[in-house]
Every structure is written in structure tokens, then in C-alpha cells.
């Protein structure tokens, strides 16, 4: 398929290509596009139309998921900015200055998890959120006015680490619930 599949995700939703986005505008544009292409809108049509609808709806959802989450959005912007392949960023490698900090985080989560301490995990999740917010502000600077993509790549890597930690905390909390 031609035109729309070559649009970048920001253009697909009619949004400016930048890290800080208007989430309400993104949601509205997503709904408007899905209202056209969602397979439910074409359920009574022949196979060829239904196939095209599924492909388009899939693409629109992928674009939305990428822009909706700050981490995926940052990775995507780095990719667009030229050559920093998000796949190659790795949550386990990090600049040495943050190594110690990450070690501490990992130990804290591991200990609290082993103690089955739900409140402790909730506390950690809260602290993690505060640090994540700070990093996002920094990232918006680097990807925005400063256009310092190398620094942004490092920051994104730190964000990936925090994101992974967040998922570990969630899994641990879910395990305690059950």
C-alpha cells in the first residue's frame, strides 16, 4: 500500500514531530482513523476489503502504541533522527556513571520481592515514577530544543531500565495478589 504507509507516525495522526505531544489530540485522531479503517466497519464487505482494513487498522494501532508511551515515542524519534536503531539500545548496558544507581535499584526490588512486601513494592513503584518523570523532562529537552541525540540515546537507555524495573514490580505485585 502506498501513501499512508509511508507517512511517519506523527504525520499519520496530524501531529507535530516532537517528543511532547498533546495526548487528547492523539486519542482523537486515533479514534477518527479507526472509525474509518477498523475491520468492524467493513465486516459485511468482501474478503479483499476486509484484508485491507485489517492491515490499515493494524498499522494505525502500531502507530498509536508507539506515540502513546513516552519510552516508545523516544525510541521512535531517535530512529527518525537518523540511524540510532532502537533495537540496539539495550536495557542492560548503561553509562558507568549510572551503574551504581541501577545496582541499588535492582537490589531494592529483589529484596522487597523476596520479602513478599506489597507495601514496600508500592513504595518503590512510587519512587520509580518520580525518577521516571524527572528523566522524561530531561529527555524532552534533549530531543527538543537542544537536539542532542547522543545524550538522548543515553537517557532513553536509562528510561528502558526503569521501564523494565516497573514491569518487574508489577509482576511481583500480581504474584502476591494470587
Amino acid at each position: 500500500m502506498t501513501v499512508d504507509l509511508s507517512l511517519n507516525y506523527f504525520a499519520l495522526f496530524g501531529l507535530p514531530c516532537q517528543f511532547n505531544i498533546d495526548e487528547t489530540a492523539l486519542d482523537c485522531a486515533w479514534h477518527a482513523l479507526q472509525a474509518e479503517v477498523h475491520p468492524d466497519r467493513h465486516a459485511h464487505q468482501p474478503d479483499d476489503v476486509r484484508r485491507a482494513a485489517m492491515q490499515q487498522a493494524t498499522r494505525v494501532n502500531e502507530a498509536y502504541a508507539t506515540l502513546k508511551k513516552p519510552l516508545a515515542r523516544a525510541q521512535y524519534l531517535l530512529e527518525l533522527a537518523g540511524g540510532i536503531d532502537a533495537q540496539r539500545l539495550n536495557a542492560n548496558t548503561v553509562a558507568s556513571e549510572y551503574l551504581f544507581e541501577q545496582l541499588e535499584w535492582r537490589e531494592a526490588v529483589e529484596e522487597t520481592r523476596r520479602a513478599n512486601d506489597a507495601d514496600g513494592l508500592e513504595q518503590l513503584a512510587l519512587r520509580l515514577q518520580i525518577q521516571t518523570d524527572a528523566i522524561l523532562t530531561q529527555l524532552a529537552e534533549q530531543l527538543g530544543p537542544r537536539r542532542d541525540f547522543n545524550a538522548a540515546a543515553d537517557t532513553t537507555q536509562r528510561l528502558m531500565f526503569l521501564d523494565k524495573l516497573r514491569r518487574q514490580i508489577d509482576d511481583a505485585l500480581a504474584a502476591i495478589d494470587t
Binding site: 479514534h31 482513523l33 474509518e36 479503517v37 477498523h38 475491520p39 459485511h44 484484508r51 485491507a52 500480581a174
Partner: protein
């Protein structure tokens, strides 16, 4: 030169689309229902006695007859082994997956994939038994309409995995239904509730049915029903409350292993007692066993609540997980919609009220709301509504999809709660020189170990061009459609060569098995196979011609003269074929026409995307900022 559209006398004209018959079916663990939209209002279709609910019971008689629903109820006691209840709990499941299987009066067969039941009419798959339930509802609907019906929306628990969904769709195919959509039960309920109450905001749907539990959180905005997260337990429902009561009764009445017949009597008695306790404080358990012995056990509400409290607690774990996945707190929820017969139990309602800090919404019939929502959606999917009065359902995949990697670990490819449809591509390479095949194992579930997840399929890629180790790049795409069903395709990236995929489903039936069952079913019903095939093809041809005529009327300008002439020739060919009696000739013409219009369809879709974009340019979107 611009092309003028001149309608030939026999050319397709864009007549207003006909009203198509379509139903919504709630295929429940204890009861099933069929509903449709009549004069703009969703109604449940009733049997001759005016009953909407059909017990989900099938009796296979020794004289080869099959009774379904109320007609099969009495046989539950007299012929328990051949009278199947709660078959939904067996869909896409092996014997090890089913709780309390030891208390069931059936003869199970452990076959690879799904379990089977040995009956007087031979070995039956849960798919075939469910198809018998669906056939009864299909017949009920056709009697109402006085004409043939094929299109249906079938509801499934939101937390059903791929194997359970596939099994449900197979059952519908066996029952001669064209499945417009598999719709998640809580989503169907939200549609019925949301449209009825013009609801906006974030709602939770708490759906405790006979055998399954779902909790979905949805955001309702201007006609969009967006599922934010879902969780549940496909082996938790009213049946488990019955079982708890049943075990208590066995202990207290000092009955040690009961006969199948007595077990069934007792099961029916405890269910009646449970239902009575929703209305009254006391429900003594009284019944007479086959031996003539009388049982009379005092039972009150407090006793029942005490013994089933752990089950109520069990519903709260998925509730918490859903909220966490949606990034919400209980106070963010505007209303909690209660669905499913078991949600009537007062201690369930109290637990929900305490957790969310508000009284749950119980102003709709928890038994019917799912079928009504499905009917409303079926009506839309059949194309019976104008585009501007449609709404949009954005649902999610309930359980993560993963691939087995080294060490028996699951690597997540598509995480749970991703909006559907979704596709993810992953690249793999060969580790030996000249390697031409690779094998994969797809699993579903949240656990790290593959052995703790559900195995969906093992497949092999063959025909990879021989290259040095690590040189071949095979791109495997996992596509999950709006029904939550997975399909896999693969391509070698260097050569672009489509690699052959051989999928062996771990659970569920192969297409050949379905074809065999269909054939057997049709033959035993003594139906005229050829006439049926011809009719189906003719209907399909009519559908395609109508759709194409409509497409031409709105977007005919997207085709140039050559393209239009080529397609028109195929239209003529199809119209001629449809007038003849050869189903395979019609099928060929249908295939030729839809291949030829594929590109046209893609262009039209692009046009509508552009139109949608044009309606939301950046300036306008910025006005929407809060």
C-alpha cells in the same frame, strides 16, 4: 480525459443495501441466548413457551436422537453420562485443565489437544457439543424470521485464550453460522449498558458467569468503547460456588462416593439452594436419593457466605491486576456494571461495593445483557446502520503471546492488553550452514516458563534458501485479528521468498478435521450437500457484486479505463456463473473478481484514511487541547 459514469442497463447499480438478518448469541456455561435487533430495539428471541434462556444442556439419546435445552434437563438425572452440562468449561482444554473433573459423571478421553467425551453416540468433542447448542439457537432464530439466517456475533469470555476462541469459532462453523465477530462478553455488556445510558467515562464490567470470570475496564468517549485492560479466570464461576456447597453437603449428609445419578440430584439441589439464598435468609437442602434415603440439611445465608468467601476473594485478584495494568485506582472508576447470573449473589455485590467504594450498577438483567449487546453489534456488522450512527469497539488481547527461546523461557512478542488488531514481526537467523528449516513454539500466558504458559502451536518453516550460518534472515509476522485469533506468516528477507509454514495447533482442530465433521454432520442430517454448496456460493456472489456496485458508485474514479474494463469483464463472468448450477465455477469467478479488486480496495481504504485525516488537521487538533 475524465471518465463519465454511464450505467448500462444491466450494470450493477448501487441499490440501497438490503436489511440483513443477523443475531447475537451468548453461548454461556449454564444458559445460552439468542437476540436480534427488531425495529431498532434489541430483543431476546424466545422458544415456543416464551422462554429466552436455554439451558446449555445436550442429551445424546441411545436411539441417536439429540435433545437440547429444557428437553434435555430431565435426562441430567436419569442419564448423567450422556447428558452434558457446562461444556464451555471443556472448550480448548485438556483433562488436566478442568477443575473438579473427578466429580463429573462423564467418561473423558485424553486426546492430543482438546479432551473428548465418550457418549452413547460415540466420542464427542466439546466443539461438536457446543455446535449442538448453537444449532438449537440457530433453528430458534430461523423460526422467528421465517427465513434462512447465517450471520452471527458469538460472545466469548474476554479472558478466553486463542485455543478457546478457536474452538468457539469452529463450533459456530459446524452449526452453519457465519461468524461476523467473536465479541468479548464484558464488551458486549458495555455496549448494551453504554448505549442505553449514554454513559461517558471509565467503567468496569464485573462479569461472573456460570463458569468464567472477567473484569474489563473500558473508557467510553463519544461513541468509542475502548477497552483499557482486561483480566479474569476462565475456570471460576457460579459452578464453583455450587461445587463448594456440594462438597459441604456430601460431608454433612455423610454420603460417601455417590452414584452418578445421586451426584446429579445433589448438584441440582445445591444450585437451587444457592439461587434461593440470593432472595431469602434460609434454604434448607432437601432431597431424596435413589435408595429412598431422605436428606434434610439446614442451610442459611451466613453458612453459605462463609464457605464460599475464598471464591469471592479470588475474583478480586484479577480486579487489582486490571486496575494496575490500566494505571488506575478504584476511585477512578465511574461505575461498575454487574453481569452474569452469579453476580447476583449478595456477598459478591458487597465485596465489589467495598473494593470500589460505590454500589455496583445492577439495573440491567445480568442474564440477558451480553446477548443484547451482541445483537446490537451484529446489526452494525451486518451493515444495517448508517455510518454516522455507528460506534467503535476497540478491544484488546487478554494474554501475552510469546515464543519459546533457549532454556524453555517465553519471550513475549505481543504483550497483554495491546489493542487489536495487532501485528508484530520478529527476525530470526539460521545457526548452521545450509540450514533450510526452523521450528517455533508459540505460547500464550504471562509466566516466564514455557511450561507454565498455554501451548498454542508448533510450526516449522521450510524452504529457507541454503546460506551460510547467520546469513538467512527470516522475518516471522504474528497477526492477531479483531477476534483475538492468531495467524502466522514468514518470509526470508534477503530473497523475499515466502517460506512454507506448517502449523500444528497444540489445541483445537485442524481445518481438515472441521471439514470432516461438517461433512459427517450434513450427511447424517440427510441434507443435500450439493444444493447447500450452490446456495452458499450464490449468496456469496450476490454479496460481492452488491459490494462492488457500491464501491463503484462512491469511488469509481479511482480506477482508470483499463482497470475498470478488466474488472467489469470479471463481474460479467461472475454474474453468468451465478446463474448456472456449478458451485465451483462460481467460487472460481468469486476468487478472480476479489483478486482483481484487491488493489482497488486498498486505494479506497487509503482515500478514507486521507478523508479522516483531512477532518483533523493539526490546527483543529490543537483546539482540542484542554
Amino acid at each position: 480525459m475524465a471518465l463519465l459514469q454511464i450505467a448500462e442497463p444491466d450494470a450493477p447499480t448501487a441499490a440501497p443495501p438490503k436489511h440483513r438478518l443477523a443475531v447475537g448469541i451468548d453461548l454461556g456455561t449454564t444458559h445460552s441466548l439468542v437476540a436480534t435487533v427488531k425495529n431498532g430495539i434489541a430483543v431476546c428471541l424466545t422458544d415456543e413457551q416464551g422462554r429466552a434462556l436455554m439451558p446449555s444442556v445436550v442429551h445424546y439419546r441411545s436411539d441417536n436422537g439429540i435433545d437440547v435445552g429444557f428437553d434435555a434437563q430431565n435426562a441430567r438425572v436419569t442419564d448423567p453420562r450422556n447428558t452434558i452440562v457446562s461444556v464451555k468449561r471443556f472448550m480448548g482444554r485438556g483433562t488436566k485443565d478442568v477443575p473438579h473433573i473427578e466429580a463429573m459423571p462423564y467418561v473423558f478421553e485424553e486426546t492430543p489437544g482438546m479432551l473428548r467425551l465418550r457418549t452413547v453416540q460415540g466420542s464427542k468433542s466439546p466443539v461438536e457439543i457446543s455446535a449442538d447448542l448453537l444449532r438449537a439457537l440457530h433453528t430458534r432464530a430461523e423460526a422467528h424470521f421465517g427465513s434462512e439466517l447465517t450471520d452471527a456475533v458469538i460472545t466469548v469470555p474476554a479472558y478466553f485464550d486463542d485455543a478457546q476462541r478457536q474452538a468457539t469459532r469452529d463450533a459456530a462453523r459446524l452449526a452453519g453460522l457465519n461468524v461476523l465477530r467473536l465479541l468479548n462478553e464484558p464488551t458486549a455488556a458495555a455496549v448494551a449498558y453504554g448505549l442505553d445510558n449514554a454513559a461517558e467515562g471509565v467503567y468496569a464490567v464485573f462479569d461472573l458467569g456460570g463458569g468464567t470470570f472477567d473484569l474489563s475496564i473500558l473508557k467510553l468517549t463519544h461513541g468509542v468503547f475502548e477497552v483499557l485492560a482486561t483480566n479474569g479466570d476462565t475456570a471460576l464461576g457460579g459452578d464453583d460456588f455450587d461445587h463448594r456447597l456440594y462438597c459441604w453437603a456430601l460431608d454433612n449428609a455423610h454420603i460417601s462416593p455417590p452414584s452418578d445419578e445421586d451426584a446429579r440430584r445433589l448438584q441440582m439441589a445445591v444450585r437451587a439452594a444457592k439461587e434461593l439464598l440470593t432472595l431469602s435468609e434460609e434454604a434448607p437442602l432437601r432431597l431424596r436419593l435413589a435408595s429412598g434415603e431422605e436428606i434434610d440439611l439446614p442451610l442459611n445465608r451466613a453458612d453459605f457466605f462463609d464457605m464460599t468467601r475464598p471464591l469471592v476473594q479470588k475474583t478480586l485478584a484479577p480486579v487489582k491486576r486490571t486496575l494496575r495494568d490500566a494505571g488506575l485506582a478504584p476511585a477512578d472508576i465511574k461505575g461498575v456494571v454487574m453481569v452474569g447470573g452469579a453476580s447476583r449473589m449478595p456477598h459478591v455485590q458487597r465485596a465489589v461495593a467495598e473494593f470500589f467504594g460505590q454500589e455496583p450498577l445492577t439495573n440491567l438483567d445480568p442474564d440477558k445483557v451480553v446477548a443484547l449487546g451482541a445483537a446490537i453489534q451484529a446489526n452494525v456488522l451486518a451493515g444495517n446502520r448508517q455510518t454516522d450512527e455507528q460506534w467503535l469497539l476497540l478491544d484488546v488481547i487478554p494474554l501475552s503471546l510469546g515464543l519459546e527461546t533457549m532454556g524453555g523461557l517465553s519471550e513475549k512478542i505481543i504483550p497483554r492488553n495491546t489493542t487489536l488488531p495487532v501485528a508484530r514481526a520478529q527476525e530470526f537467523t539460521t545457526f548452521k550452514d545450509g540450514q533450510t528449516a526452523m521450528s517455533f513454539h508459540v505460547v500464550q500466558g504471562e509466566r516466564e516458563l514455557v511450561s507454565d504458559c498455554r501451548s498454542l502451536a508448533r510450526f516449522e518453516l521450510r524452504g529457507i534458501p541454503p546460506m551460510a550460518a547467520g546469513a538467512a534472515r527470516v522475518r516471522v509476522t504474528f497477526q492477531v485479528d479483531a477476534d483475538g485469533l492468531l495467524s502466522v506468516s514468514a518470509r526470508e528477507a534477503n530473497t523475499g521468498k515466502e517460506t512454507g509454514i506448517h502449523v500444528k495447533p497444540s489445541y483445537g482442530l485442524t481445518d481438515n478435521e472441521i471439514a470432516d465433521m461438517l461433512r459427517a454432520g450434513i450427511e447424517s442430517a440427510n441434507a443435500d450437500l450439493a444444493a447447500r454448496a450452490l446456495r452458499e456460493q450464490q449468496v456469496e456472489a450476490e454479496r460481492l457484486l452488491e459490494a462492488y456496485a457500491q464501491a463503484l458508485a462512491t469511488d469509481g474514479d479511482l480506477l482508470n479505463g483499463h482497470e475498470r474494463a478488466a474488472i467489469d469483464a470479471l463481474v460479467t463472468r461472475l454474474r453468468q456463473a451465478a446463474a448456472q448450477q456449478d458451485p465451483s465455477a462460481i467460487a472460481d469467478s468469486i476468487a478472480a473478481l476479489s483478486r482483481a479488486t484487491e488493489d482497488f480496495a486498498a486505494r479506497r481504504m487509503n482515500r478514507s484514511v486521507r478523508a479522516a485525516l483531512a477532518g483533523h488537521n493539526i490546527d483543529e487538533l490543537q483546539h482540542l487541547q484542554p
